[in-house]
Amino acid sequence: MSAATDHSLFAHGSGLRRRRRVNRAVELSSTVAALLAVAVLLIVVGSVLLKGLGALSLHFLTTPTALFGETGGGISNAIIGTAIIVAIAAAIAIPIGLLVAIYTTEFAPPRIAHPVRFVLDVLNGVPTIVTGIFVYGLIVVPQGNQSGYAASVALAIVMLPIVARTAQEVLELVPLTLKEAANALGIAHWRTTVRVTIPTAAGGLLTGALLAVARVAGETAPLLLLCSIFAPGNLTDPSQGLASIPIFIFQASESPSPTAHTEAWAAALILIAFVLLLNVVARVFYARSRQRMEG
């Protein structure tokens, strides 16, 4: 009883004051760090907008790059080239990545699943220039020329661990109770996977695939090695070199012409807008998918 009325037990001591100071300092510094991260994005997007918007026009988007020494070209061939290269890469990496994820989460015993997961993490950390050199030796050297295919293979290798790892994480979020329900109905495991687990996780799987596409759309290093020499006339043949947005940005920014610099900014704006859009769409799918799984 006496303890309850003894107010000295709850009096403000120096300990409390110190605790409050530390608390405030930690809160402030983490807030500043968060603001800095947001600021970096805003500055990048802002400066690209500021410098690129001027050169952006329908003409710029629908005209192929001007020949060397001429001005007034656009980036239509680079947009088409990037679309083709990334589409082929996605067509290779997304099915394989999903299958790897399904195997490791649904079928593989832990002693296989854990090493596979580790290998994917390592692959995710391989510098893309190394992947580029590898594909150079694998495809460009025996073929004798650079090509859109070579670029696609390199980008597929970059995408694969991203697709597989995000898919693994999403598949693991599917509640065990659903698999149990299917199991108790006498539904075979592979059928449960195809008809219950994957549909439940579909939104999240799509998110991972979109993020991987966004990640490689601006990938430059492998393209420099594999697909930076191309004939201006080749718009759609991936067996030859294809133009691409990252290579256009790189080459235009290396040029001494100020017009070319502005065009590089405009191309960068297109690239950033595409990546941001993919990220937003991916978030929407992911939010829906989570809702479904937590239902």
Binding site: T177, A182, L185, G186, R195, V196, R292
Partner: protein, 279 residues
Amino acid sequence: MSKIAEQARQLSSQQVPAGTARPQVPRRDRGNVELAGLNAWYGANHAVKGIDLGFDAGLVTAIIGPSGCGKSTMVRCINRMHEEIAGARAEGHVRLDGIDLYDPAIDVVAVRRHVGMVFQKPNPFPTMSVLDNVTAGLRLTDAGKGEIEDRGREALVEAGLWEEVSGRLKSPGAGLSGGQQQRLCIARALAVEPEVLLMDEPCSALDPVATLRIEELIGELKKRVTIVIVTHNMQQAARVADTTAFMLGGELVEVGPTERLFTNPDNERTEQYVTGKFG
């Protein structure tokens, strides 16, 4: 075998012989389950210890006991779901109408088509409509051929859900209320026409009204399917079960007609448990 288990076995053979218990219930010739020397482990943890127990067709049997007494594990051995958990194994015999479900020649997946299960939390498939949920067991196995949708509608009627959902068979199953979802899961289990229905604390996530609805349903369903219900709610066992079995520490302590088990148990520990002295 321990004295208690021996006693329990005698009790079970004495007290629930064919034809004597609840004579108003029509006897069915299918769906008699018999556990003999059933043991189950999680790794080194011996969770179910040498259980001999019968579940008779046409009756509801409740399994009661404190948390961790092995009642859920025992029930999950009946449809061989226990062994799905990594490191878990079971030994002994579970006979369904004389067929040993633990015989090496038995297909585990087929066992589950004859022994249905309803879980603690309603778990409808979130991507499927009401009707697709009910027919999932027919559509996604080789068992269901022919009039799948008709069978699904019948199952919804059997689960007492038809009137509430007949207008929205194509809308998502996850959009129903908790109690409706659980009856949807019961309908899903019934659609494949099992002989036995295992219910692992089916009302623990439901409100009292939804619970009552499920309990009424159990009373109606026992005519067509043998029901084994795990519950830690003794009032629920008293309300729904013809026979009640009390488990403690992985062993079967006592089994008998529900009324007698709650009012005049033979075993001292049963009496202590049902009067609330522990658990």
